[in-house]
Symmetry: C2
Subunit: 152 residues, 2 copies
């Protein structure tokens, strides 16, 4: 609309661009997951459980980048609707290992197809080398940021 000064792109720092990319990815995922009645966190939870069965609520929360409390309400809904199961009693300690039900697995399959299409679109026009470069660079960023956060 305005764009007075032809666009000062100083705010196009890598940090801003990172947020922009992440935002675009999330929006694209929400768009393809909405027809399936599924949110991004919803999908993330199922995907995590498929790859690492028996994860606890807290571990799922960390993996999906939400708090334990948020993940807990989601898990209760998923359990109520029959997508996951949790033992009534903790086998050891207080940890309640969660597992996908067949219904949850079927639901995840459809979602995975949708999400994979988004990721394919995101990687369109990128060579294999670029993808592995991006992977390494992003891992480097995460590591650098975490070191400063946790360690200090």
């Amino acid at each position: 609309m305005s764009q007075k000064g032809a666009g000062v792109d100083l705010d196009k720092s890598l940090g801003y661009l990172l947020k922009e990319a992440s935002s675009a990815l999330r929006a694209a995922m929400e768009e393809v997951l909405r027809p399936l009645g599924m949110s991004v966190t919803h999908y993330s939870c199922l995907e995590l459980l498929a790859q690492r069965p028996g994860l606890s609520n807290s571990e799922l929360a960390r993996g999906a980048f939400v708090t334990r409390q948020s993940m807990n309400v989601l898990l209760q809904a998923l359990e109520r609707d029959g997508y996951v199961t949790r033992p009534a009693e903790a086998p050891v300690g207080k940890v309640l290992p969660t597992r996908l039900t067949p219904r949850g697995r079927r639901s995840l399959e459809k979602a995975t197809v949708a999400v994979r299409s988004v990721e394919v679109r995101m990687l369109a026009g990128m060579t294999e080398t670029e993808q592995s470069d991006a992977f390494r660079i992003l891992q480097n960023m995460v590591h650098s940021l975490r070191d400063g956060n946790d360690g200090a």
Copy 2:
């Protein structure tokens, strides 16, 4: 804690890693901005106004990846506290161009120092080439995702 199968890293897709990096960046920014009594959106708003004075509420919202409504409540608070100014009447149309006050500019300067330290830490161990590679690749991702979103 559990890590049963030595870590199936299939979920380490570029999409997941992107979210991870963005999450780590946001957490690091929140950490350094908290002592200044400032949130990430708060800072983003000020930084946008510094680089493009006179942005409207809607434009600020898009730039900070929140809704117009959210940005509006933030702007009201910033105006109330004397960090920004908005004309009482729209010079043209309904758009209320927003500008930083000297106080807002001073506040931003301190925040910029803090945020820049985070970005420096994030880029630690990355060569100039890697940074420009990352920049180009991320821009490519955003473009690919947006094309599919808007165009279709």
